[in-house]
C-alpha cells in the first residue's frame, strides 16, 4: 500500500522549534494549537565527586505531528466518521462532519489531535496535503534548519533508516502502527521507559 510517512532524525534535532512555528504559520493556527510540537526529554542526576560535578543526565528532543497511522485509533473512535484516511495514507479530518466531541483526542497516543477553539472542530496535521499535491514538501520538512525532518513512502524510509520509532516519549507501535521512522538520539531509550521525563510540559500541553 502507498503510505506516506515522516522521518525524524532525533540525533540531530536541536529543539529549535522552527518546524512547529512554520506549521503554525502555514495553517494559521491559534495559540495553544500546535500541529507539530517539540518535546524536550531531559532528566537524570548530578553526581558530586570532590570539588567536581559529573552530569549523569540525558537530554534530547522529539518533534512530533500526526503520524498518519496505518491503524489510526482516532479514526476508529470517531463517531461521526469525520476522520478519514486517503489513498496516500494521509489521515484527515472533515471539518464539516466533526461535532467537536473531542473523543478522538483521548485516543491518539501522539498528542496529534488538537481542538481549535476558533473553528470549533478537532484539527491536526494534514501532511500539508495541498502542498504534496503541488509536488512541494510539507512545510515543516522544508523548514528544518538541521534537515532533521523528511517524508516519503513508509517502506522506503524504513529501508533507508531502519524501521523503528518506539522511543520515549512515544508509545509502542502496537496501538496505531504509526507511519513514522526515527533515528534515535544517543541518549534515547525505548518506549515504555519509566524513568525518563518530559521537561517542557508547559510548552507542549498549553
Amino acid at each position: 500500500m502507498n503510505q506516506l510517512a515522516f522521518y525524524f532524525d532525533a540525533s540531530s534535532c536541536s529543539g529549535c522549534k522552527t518546524c512547529q512555528v512554520a506549521c503554525k504559520d502555514k495553517h494559521d493556527l491559534p495559540m495553544a494549537v500546535l500541529w507539530r510540537r517539540v518535546y524536550e526529554v531531559c532528566g537524570g542526576d548530578w553526581i558530586r565527586k570532590g570539588p567536581a560535578w559529573i552530569p549523569n543526565i540525558y537530554a534530547y528532543h522529539m518533534s512530533m505531528a500526526c503520524n498518519h497511522c496505518e491503524e489510526p485509533i482516532c479514526m476508529d473512535a470517531c463517531p461521526t466518521k469525520a476522520i478519514v484516511k486517503n489513498d496516500r495514507g494521509i489521515v484527515l479530518i472533515d471539518y464539516d462532519r466533526c461535532m467537536g466531541c473531542k473523543y478522538c483526542e483521548w485516543t491518539c497516543p501522539y498528542g496529534a489531535l488538537q481542538f481549535d477553539p476558533v473553528k470549533k472542530v478537532m484539527t491536526k496535521c494534514t501532511f500539508c496535503a495541498d502542498y504534496l499535491e503541488e509536488g512541494k514538501p510539507p512545510v515543516c520538512v522544508s523548514a528544518c534548519p538541521m534537515r532533521a525532518l523528511d517524508y516519503g513512502d513508509l517502506d522506503e524510509l524504513a529501508q533507508r533508516h531502519g524501521r523503528s520509532n518506539e522511543y520515549f516519549p512515544l508509545p509502542k507501535e502496537k496501538y496505531t502502527k504509526p507511519a513514522l521512522v526515527i533515528s534515535p538520539h544517543l541518549h534515547a531509550r525505548k518506549a515504555g521507559n519509566r524513568e525518563f521525563k518530559i521537561a517542557n510540559k508547559e510548552e507542549v500541553k498549553p
Binding site: M31, S142, M146
Partner: protein, 808 residues
C-alpha cells in the same frame, strides 16, 4: 504556472513617499485573476506613490510569492524568506527553496523567528506616529505629533547641542537592530558625520574581547577557515559555542552535523547543556562559568607533559612557548610553559588544580586534553559568551594558544581559534553604507557610554579613550537608532535608568524604533520606523557568508512610519545637508549602488539590481567548492608569509601585552584569573549562585520579545538546577526572585538538569518591566549585570555576576 512580472506603478524618485495603497493591490489581484493583465490600466491608481514592484509567481488565488531577506537584525544568521503576499498583506512565510541544498551552497533556511515574523510585522503595538514625551523622562507618557514637528524638534536640538557643547557631545549609540546595508544606525551616523561629527566609539557588545585579543596572537582576526572545511575535521570542541541557537552564520549548525556524519567527534564545554550540546555533541562537559582559562591551562599541562604538542610547528611558527623562544629582552620573563608548570608562581596548572576551579573531574580533563592533543585535525571553536565576562580576554588568548601548540593552525580541518573571521577576505563586509569620516576623532570603548555621560570630560586613555587625550564633553544628546542599548541591553539597568532620567545629564534623547521599547520609554522624542519589509534593503552574511540577499520593498509602511533612511534624509533637509546626504538617491538607488559595490569587491558576477529583483531567488550566492584555509601560506613558509604580529610569528607570549605593565589583569601569556564576582569570592556569601544570560532562541536580544508564537515556544524563564532549587524549596514553574545588590527580577523558573549546579540562566533580552517596587517582572538579566569593564578590551563583562534566588 508562469512567472509573472508585476510592474504596475510608474517610477517615482521621491524616497519619502509612502507606498502604494492597499486598494491598488486588490485591484491588481482582480485584474490578474481575470487573466487580462494590463499594466497600463493600473497606472492610474498610484500617481504619486512610490512603486512597489513585485516579481514572482502569481498563484491562482492572487497570491504573489516574493523571496526576500529576513529582516536583518543582529541575529546571528542571514536567511531567505519566501513571502506569500495577498491583497497587500503577508499571509505566509516560508524559506529558501533553491533546489540542491548542497553544502557548497546550502539553502539559507530561516529559524523560528523568521518563520514567526508575521506576528511581529502585524503586531498591534507597532509604533505608528512620531511622539513627544509629556510626563517625566522614563515614565513612558507620550503625545502624538506631526513629522514636521518631530523633525524640527530634532534639528533644533542637534543645532543647540552642537552650538552649546560641540559635536562630541552627541552620541549615536551602538545599535544593532538593522544590519540592512542602507538602513539602521549607520543612516544616522552618516548624517552626523556630515553635520560635524559625533562622539565615536570602537568595539562591540558582541565581540569586545575576542576581536581585541585575537590579533595579539595572530596579528589578524581572519583566523577561520571557510565553513565547508569543517567537514574535514575529526575532533571539534564547541567551547562555549552554541550555533544551534545563535547560528553564527546560517547553517553553522548544519555544517557541524555534516562534520559529525563524516566521523568527527564533537564535545561541548558549556555551563549549560545548550541546544548545540544536545543536537551536535557526543559529550557535554559542564564548566563553572568564568574558569575556561583554567581548563585550557590544565589541558596544556597534559598535552605538553605527554608530548602531544606539535613541537615542529611551535619551533617554526611560534614564540614564547618556553624559555628557549622568548622575544628579545624577555628571556627571564614567564613563558607559557613556565606558567603551565608553575616555574614562577610555584603552582603547576595540573588537571587536579583545574578540577577544583572548573568543577570538571581531573580524569575528564586528562581525557579531553589527550583527545584534542592527538586527534588530528581538530577544531577548538570558541563562542562569545565566555569572553563577555570579567577578564574575557584570557579564554580568547588561551584558545588561540591551545590551537597553536597542537598545530591545528593553517591546515584543513584545523582551526586557529580566536574570532575566526573567514579566510580569505575576512568574511562579510558589514556596513558598506558610506558613513564618511567622523570629524570628531575621539572614540570611547562602546561599553563606556554611561561613563561618558557622567564624567566624559575626565575620561582619557585609562578609560580606553583614543583619538584624543581627554574627551572635551560629557554626552548631552543621544540619537538612538535601531537600538535598545539605552536601557535593556546595557549592563546594570537600574543604574542606566537613573542616569538617563536625570535631564541635567543627557539633555535630549531621541529613539527611532518600531516599538516602544524600554529604551524608547526614556526618549524625549520617539520616531516610528517601518519594518524592513516596507523598504528597500540588502544584506550579506552574518559572520560567514558567500551571499548577497536582496530585500525588495514588499509592503507599504503603515500609518506614518518611515524608514531610517527617509528619516535621516528628512532631517538632513532641515540641517541644510540634503544634497550631501542623499546624493540625490532614493532608497532603491542606494541598493543599486550597494549591489555595484558588492560587484566591485566580493561578487564580480552579481547581476544588477533590476536583474536580481527579477530573478526572485532572494539570494545571490558564490558556492564554495574549495574552502579556504587560514594561515596556509604562513604555515608553509612562515618567513616568506609572516604574520602581522611584532615577531611575525604566533605570539604565545605577547611582548606588547607585557609592556602594558599590568601583569595581574593583562598577563603576557593567557592565564586563569579569578573573576571579580565569583563563587570563590567574598560576594558569594550573599549571592551564592553564578548567573549567565545566554542568547535565547525566540529573540534577537530584545527584538521579538513579546511575540506570541515565540513566547509560546520559548517562554522567558530562569533556568535552575534541581539541586539549587531543592535547597531553596522551589518547585518547577514557581515564580522566583532573582536578585543581587544591583536589582531584582521576579519570573517563573524552569528546573532543569541542563544547567550546572551553582549556575542559573536568565536568557538575555527580555524587555525590562519594573513594577512599582522596581522589581522587573519580565526578567531582563541586565537588572543584575555589572557595568564593570574588562581590563584590556574595555569590553562588557555582562555574563559575570553573582545572584541569589528565593521563593516568592
Amino acid at each position: 504556472m508562469k512567472e509573472h512580472q508585476i510592474d504596475h506603478i510608474p517610477p517615482n524618485g521621491n524616497p519619502d513617499h509612502q507606498g502604494m495603497e492597499r486598494r491598488c493591490f486588490i485591484k491588481m489581484g482582480a485584474v490578474f485573476a481575470g487573466g487580462m493583465a494590463s499594466l497600463g490600466s493600473l497606472l492610474g491608481c498610484t500617481d504619486e506613490k512610490q512603486r512597489i514592484r513585485l516579481p514572482g509567481r502569481l498563484e491562482k488565488d492572487g497570491t504573489v510569492v516574493v523571496r526576500a531577506g529576513c529582516p536583518a537584525h543582529n541575529c546571528g544568521g542571514r536567511c531567505v524568506l519566501k513571502l506569500f503576499l495577498k491583497d497587500g498583506e503577508i499571509i505566509r512565510i516560508e524559506t529558501d527553496d533553491r533546489p540542491g541544498d548542497d553544502i557548497s551552497d546550502p539553502q539559507l533556511r530561516a529559524c523560528v523567528r523568521g518563520r514567526a515574523y508575521r506576528r511581529r510585522q502585524y503586531h498591534p503595538d507597532r509604533l505608528k506616529y512620531p511622539m513627544k514625551r509629556v510626563g517625566k523622562r522614563g515614565e513612558g507618557q507620550f503625545e502624538r505629533i506631526s513629522w514636521d514637528e518631530a523633525l524640527d524638534m530634532m534639528a533644533s536640538e542637534l543645532k543647540r547641542v552642537k552650538n552649546t557643547y560641540g559635536n562630541s557631545a552627541i552620541l549615536v549609540p551602538y545599535g544593532t537592530g538593522s544590519y540592512n546595508q542602507t538602513n539602521g544606525r549607520q543612516t544616522a551616523a552618516r548624517l552626523m558625520n556630515l553635520f560635524g561629527g559625533s562622539l565615536g566609539f570602537y568595539n562591540s557588545y558582541s565581540w569586545a574581547c575576542i576581536s581585541r585579543a585575537t590579533p595579539y596572537v595572530y596579528g589578524t582576526g581572519v583566523t577561520g577557515n571557510q565553513r565547508q572545511d569543517w567537514v574535514n575535521s575529526k575532533y571539534i570542541i564547541l567551547w562555549g559555542w552554541n550555533p544551534a541557537e545563535m547560528r553564527d552564520g546560517t547553517n553553522s549548525e548544519y555544517f557541524l552535523k555534516k562534520a559529525r556524519e563524516r566521523g568527527a567527534k564533537i564535545i561541548c564545554i558549556d555551563p549549560r547543556m545548550s541546544m548545540s550540546a544536545t543536537a551536535l555533541a557526543d559529550e557535554w562537559i559542564p564548566i563553572r562559568p568564568g574558569t575556561d582559562t583554567a581548563l585550557m591551562s590544565a589541558m596544556a599541562h597534559v598535552i605538553i607533559s605527554e608530548g602531544l604538542h606539535d613541537e615542529h610547528f611551535i619551533r617554526r611558527c611560534c614564540i614564547g612557548f618556553d624559555q628557549t623562544q622568548m622575544p628579545e629582552g624577555m628571556e627571564n620573563e614567564e613563558s607559557y610553559c613556565d606558567y603551565i608548570f608553575g616555574t614562577h608562581d610555584g603552582r603547576p596548572k595540573t588537571p587536579q588544580w583545574a578540577e577544583a576551579i572548573t568543577g570538571i573531574p581531573e580524569n575528564t580533563i586528562i581525557r579531553i586534553a589527550r583527545e584534542y592533543g592527538s586527534i588530528k585535525p581538530a577544531m577548538l571553536y570558541q563562542g562569545y559568551g565566555m569572553q563577555r565576562r570579567a577578564y574575557g580576554e584570557q579564554p580568547v588568548l588561551g584558545g588561540c594558544v591551545l590551537a597553536a601548540i597542537t598545530g591545528n593552525v593553517g591546515i584543513p580541518g584545523g582551526w586557529a581559534s580566536g574570532i575566526a573571521l573567514q579566510a580569505d577576505d575576512g568574511g562579510p563586509f558589514w556596513n558598506i553604507f558610506p558613513t564618511g569620516r567622523n570629524p570628531v576623532n575621539a572614540m570611547i570603548p562602546v561599553f563606556l557610554w554611561t561613563e561618558a555621560i557622567l564624567r566624559g570630560k575626565e575620561m582619557g586613555a585609562e578609560d580606553g579613550v583614543i583619538g584624543t587625550d581627554k574627551l572635551d564633553n560629557n554626552i548631552k544628546l543621544i540619537w538612538c537608532v535601531a537600538s535598545n542599548i539605552l536601557i535593556n541591553q546595557h549592563a546594570d539597568t537600574n543604574r542606566s535608568a537613573k542616569i538617563l532620567k536625570d535631564e541635567r545629564l543627557v539633555e535630549f534623547i531621541a529613539v527611532q524604533d518600531q516599538f516602544l521599547t524600554p529604551s524608547a520609554k526614556f526618549a524625549d522624542l520617539v520616531l516610528p520606523v517601518c519594518t524592513q519589509f516596507e523598504m528597500w534593503g540588502l544584506e550579506d552574511g552574518w559572520k560567514y557568508g558567500d551571499e548577497v540577499i536582496l530585500m525588495p520593498k514588499v509592503l507599504d509602511p503603515p500609518h506614518e512610519t518611515k524608514s531610517d533612511y527617509q528619516i535621516a534624509a528628512g532631517l538632513a533637509e532641515r540641517l541644510g545637508l540634503k544634497e550631501e546626504y542623499t546624493l540625490g538617491r532614493n532608497e532603491r538607488d542606494w541598493i543599486e549602488w550597494a549591489v555595484k559595490y558588492f560587484r566591485n569587491t566580493r561578487f564580480p558576477d552579481i547581476p544588477d539590481l533590476e536583474k536580481l529583483h527579477e530573478m526572485n531567488r532572494g539570494v545571490y550566492t558564490r558556492p564554495v567548492h574549495e574552502p579556504k584555509v587560514a594561515f596556509r601560506d604562513f604555515r608553509r613558509d612562515p618567513v616568506k608569509h609572516p604574520l602581522n604580529t611584532p615577531s611575525g610569528k604566533v605570539e604565545i607570549f605577547s611582548k606588547t601585552l607585557f609592556d602594558m605593565g599590568k601583569p595581574d589583569t593583562i598577563p603576557a601569556v593567557p592565564k586563569y584569573i579569578q573573576e571579580w564576582e565569583s563563587p570563590f569570592g567574598e560576594e558569594s556569601r550573599r549571592y551564592p549562585l553564578q548567573a549567565i544570560g545566554h542568547h535565547y532562541m525566540p529573540r534577537v536580544h530584545s527584538t521579538h520579545d513579546g511575540i506570541d508564537w515565540l513566547e509560546e515556544a520559548f517562554p522567558q524563564r530562569v533556568f535552575i538546577n534541581p539541586i539549587d532549587a531543592q535547597a531553596r524549596e522551589i518547585k518547577d514553574g514557581n515564580t522566583v526572585h532573582v536578585y543581587n545588590s544591583r536589582g531584582a527580577i521576579m519570573i517563573p523558573c524552569r528546573i532543569t538538569q541542563k544547567i550546572m549546579p551553582g549556575v542559573v540562566n536568565i536568557p538575555q533580552g527580555a524587555w525590562w518591566a519594573p513594577d512599582k517596587d522596581g522589581i522587573d517582572r519580565r526578567g531582563n538579566v541586565n537588572v543584575l549585570t555589572s557595568h564593570r569593564w574588562t581590563p584590556l578590551a574595555f569590553g562588557n563583562a555582562q555574563h559575570t555576576m553573582m545572584v541569589e534566588v528565593k521563593k516568592t
